[in-house]
């Protein structure tokens, strides 16, 4: 009897191992998504939000693709849906606005935007808020004493005043990375303006340079960018393409004329003799 009891106890303990462990087993913990958002305004061009999603999984930072994000404009207690974006393989998403007028500011002329992620099987829900005021950069090309300058003035549109002491980047668009010009730090003066000399000899297609003046990721205004077309570069990029010309590597309808004339004359000459000799065979047969 005692042995039977012992056996039952051992059997129950053995079974309980499975039940207890299954009780402890739970769903894998969802990772936390980090959202990063920037407001970007290109003067006379697009207004958009750049969003990036990342997460820490197994102590490793990863970019999170295929997240469905919803972007809202928050005005007081009201949340107006602006649109949706989906992150790509790099975790980047973008929502382009028709214009800044399509969103409403609050009473202090500050725009409040929130980006929201509902959550999915792998990641917890997340959101990110963004507040910014509207700023503008007025940039122009000035030439004085044969020296070319870019003059840019930064304006806070929300209070219609110049912004003093702000750091502006002045750079020339290049193929891979923009080329910074001017001082290391171009800070707006009392007139909210920076003036930067454009160095000579920067090559551009047909001598045209595109100069960017950028207020970069400002806490108050986001990123504001102005582009100036400046025909002050040097013409170093010479188009050496022989497209549509008669060359040895052209298609057959663009064969060089000498290649058409001399070989064809040679071929016709030789085949003229050959045909003449074949005709002579008929002459022999008839004579």
């Amino acid at each position: 009897m005692k042995n039977q009891l012992k056996f039952r106890t051992v059997f129950l303990v053995f079974l309980s191992v499975f039940f207890i462990t299954s009780g402890f087993s739970q769903e894998v913990e969802k990772a936390k998504v980090r959202l990063k958002a920037d407001y970007v305004k290109v003067m006379g061009g697009e207004v958009y939000f750049n969003i990036n999603a990342s997460a820490k999984v197994n102590d490793e930072n990863i970019k999170v693709p295929d997240l469905d994000l919803t972007i809202y404009n928050e005005v007081g207690d009201e949340k107006i849906k602006l649109g949706e974006a989906k992150t790509d393989v790099n975790g980047d998403g973008k929502l382009v606005l028709e214009s800044l007028n399509s969103i409403k500011p609050d009473s202090t002329n500050t725009y409040n935007v929130s980006i929201s992620f509902k959550g999915n099987d792998s990641f917890k829900r997340a959101s990110k808020s963004l507040s910014f005021r509207d700023a503008a950069i007025e940039a122009k090309l000035i030439t004085e004493d044969s020296i070319n300058y870019i003059s840019a003035t930064l304006i806070d549109n929300s209070i219609d005043s110049l912004i003093v002491g702000a750091l502006l980047r002045v750079q020339v668009q290049r193929l891979f990375k923009p080329l910074k010009i001017g001082e290391e730090y171009n800070i707006t003066d009392d007139d909210g303006t920076v003036v930067v000399t454009i160095p000579e000899g920067i090559p551009g297609e047909d001598g045209n340079l595109i100069v960017e003046v950028v207020l970069y990721e400002s806490d108050a205004f986001g990123t504001v960018k102005a582009l100036v077309q400046a025909p002050v570069g040097s013409v170093k990029v010479v188009d050496e393409s022989t497209f549509n010309q008669r060359t040895m590597w052209s298609p057959r309808n663009k064969t060089p004329l000498f290649m058409l004339i001399f070989p064809n004359l040679l071929i016709l000459g030789i085949w003229g003799f050959i045909i003449y000799l074949f005709i002579n065979l008929f002459k022999i047969a008839k004579s």
């Binding site: 052209s250 057959r252 030789i270 000799l277 002579n280 065979l281 022999i284 047969a285 004579s287």
Partner: protein, 439 residues
């Protein structure tokens, strides 16, 4: 029309195959049938049945094509040069040279088509071809040379066909009829002789530059590609000299066999072999000179790519073949043929065979090693791309093309007078008259 010496016509008129002739022809036909089967399989399965891959995209077919083109140069040398320089000893040799030329250039045209993965697109070469491309120059020059070599073979045959028509009238009326048709009603009239003589003169002049252009274009197919081992301004004359050697080798070998089979010792004498031997030495010396140019300067300047290529040839994978081709195909023939005893028929035949075999392999060495050193090396290529040795399909098809060339020669030797009857008779008459006048 003259009444020629009956024994002369008997000696030179075509004869039926002997038993050995039948066996030989049957053997060639079997090889050709095997080749056709292999080619049909290649057409169905694609060029994957060959060993050609992305590196060695030209293989044995192109080597064989270059060999046929080179051999066809014998027409330009033996017929045109000897005719224009008025060497009377050429008479019993010219027709064999013309036959080899015609057979070789016909097979060159066929061989290049075998190399095409889609021969059904051959017409595209003419429709969409660019005149800037050396491939198109080749497409133009081969039919041109084929037409000229056909005419050069046919024109001098006209009087002989007329003689054969009469000769076979009683023995074989069908054959006589065919010779009659082929003779184009040749009666030997002044008008016919004048037209024929003018035509042969034009052809003798025409075949020389066209032959040189053919060999040069063949060389330019390679030298216009920037590839190490091909990118050489020397390549045009190098190919012409090589063709001179290959053509002379083939001529001597065929002349020897025809002489023995047809018992033509009274017509093709030791003197002819002596002359041909001297010509072959000259050809080998010229080719040796161009070979030295071709290999010494890259060796001297020792650019890295060139040295890799030369190492493979001199001491590497292709060294045994390279030294066989150089020593067996050039040095030994020069040494042997320098001596009068070496210019006797049998030694000449052995040397000629050596020269022909070496000439074939020489083309293989020109085409293959260069392709195995790509201009822009690719990373991670399959190991098989680094090596090339022809597949069974390639060997069978190539052997069949060589057999087909030999079959064309055999059939033409069977049905045509291999030594011009009329011209030999006239020369003999002239000789007799001269002797009479002297006595």
């Amino acid at each position: 029309m003259n009444n020629y010496d009956a024994s002369l016509i008997n000696d030179l008129a075509p004869r039926k195959f002997t038993k050995r002739g039948v066996i030989w022809t049957s053997f060639l036909v079997i090889l050709i049938i095997l080749g056709i089967i292999a080619y049909a399989d290649q057409l169905i399965k694609g060029q994957v049945v060959t060993s050609m891959r992305d590196y060695a995209l030209w293989g044995i077919y192109i080597s064989n094509f270059v060999f046929f083109v080179a051999t066809s140069f014998v027409g330009s040398v033996a017929v045109a040069i000897l005719r224009l320089s008025k060497k009377s000893w050429r008479t019993p040799l010219v027709r064999i040279a013309e036959i080899i030329t015609f057979a070789s250039i016909s097979m060159a045209g066929i061989t290049i088509m075998i190399d095409m993965a889609r021969p059904d697109r051959l017409l595209y070469l003419f429709i969409y071809g660019r005149l800037q491309s050396p491939i198109i120059w080749d497409v133009i020059i081969i039919p041109t040379f084929l037409a000229i070599s056909f005419l050069l073979l046919y024109y001098p045959l006209l009087p002989d066909f007329a003689i054969l028509k009469n000769h076979f009238k009683e023995k074989n009326s069908t054959l006589s009829k065919w010779y009659g048709r082929l003779s184009l009603n040749w009666s030997g009239s002044e008008v016919q002789k004048a037209v024929q003589s003018r035509a042969i003169k034009i052809l003798a002049v025409l075949i020389l530059p066209v032959g040189i252009v053919l060999q040069t274009i063949d060389a330019w197919l390679f030298s216009t590609t920037y590839r190490i081992g091909w990118d050489s301004t020397n390549f045009g004359p190098y190919f012409i000299a090589g063709a001179f050697v290959a053509g002379m080798g083939a001529l001597i070998a065929v002349v020897y066999v025809v002489r023995r089979v047809r018992n033509l010792e009274n017509y093709i004498t030791d003197l002819h072999f002596d002359k041909l031997g001297k010509l072959l030495v000259l050809a080998c010396l010229i080719y040796l000179y161009f070979n030295i140019n071709e290999y010494l300067i890259p060796f001297f300047t020792a650019k890295k790519g060139e040295m890799t290529h030369l190492d493979v040839l001199f001491t590497g994978h292709y060294a045994p073949l390279f030294w066989f081709v150089t020593i067996g195909g050039l040095i030994i023939p020069i040494i042997v043929l320098m001596f009068k005893k070496g210019r006797k028929p049998f030694p000449m035949f052995i040397i000629a065979l050596l020269v022909v075999v070496a000439s074939w392999w020489k083309r293989y060495l020109i085409v293959t090693p260069t392709l195995l050193h790509p201009f822009l090396p690719i990373q991670g290529v399959p190991e098989s791309w680094h090596h090339y040795f022809p597949s069974l399909h390639e060997w069978i098809i190539t052997t069949a093309t060589l057999a087909m060339a030999l079959l064309i020669i055999t059939l033409l030797v069977r049905y045509l007078p291999v030594i011009p009857i009329e011209r030999t008779a006239e020369e003999r008459e002239l000789l007799k008259n001269n002797k009479n006048i002297e006595s």
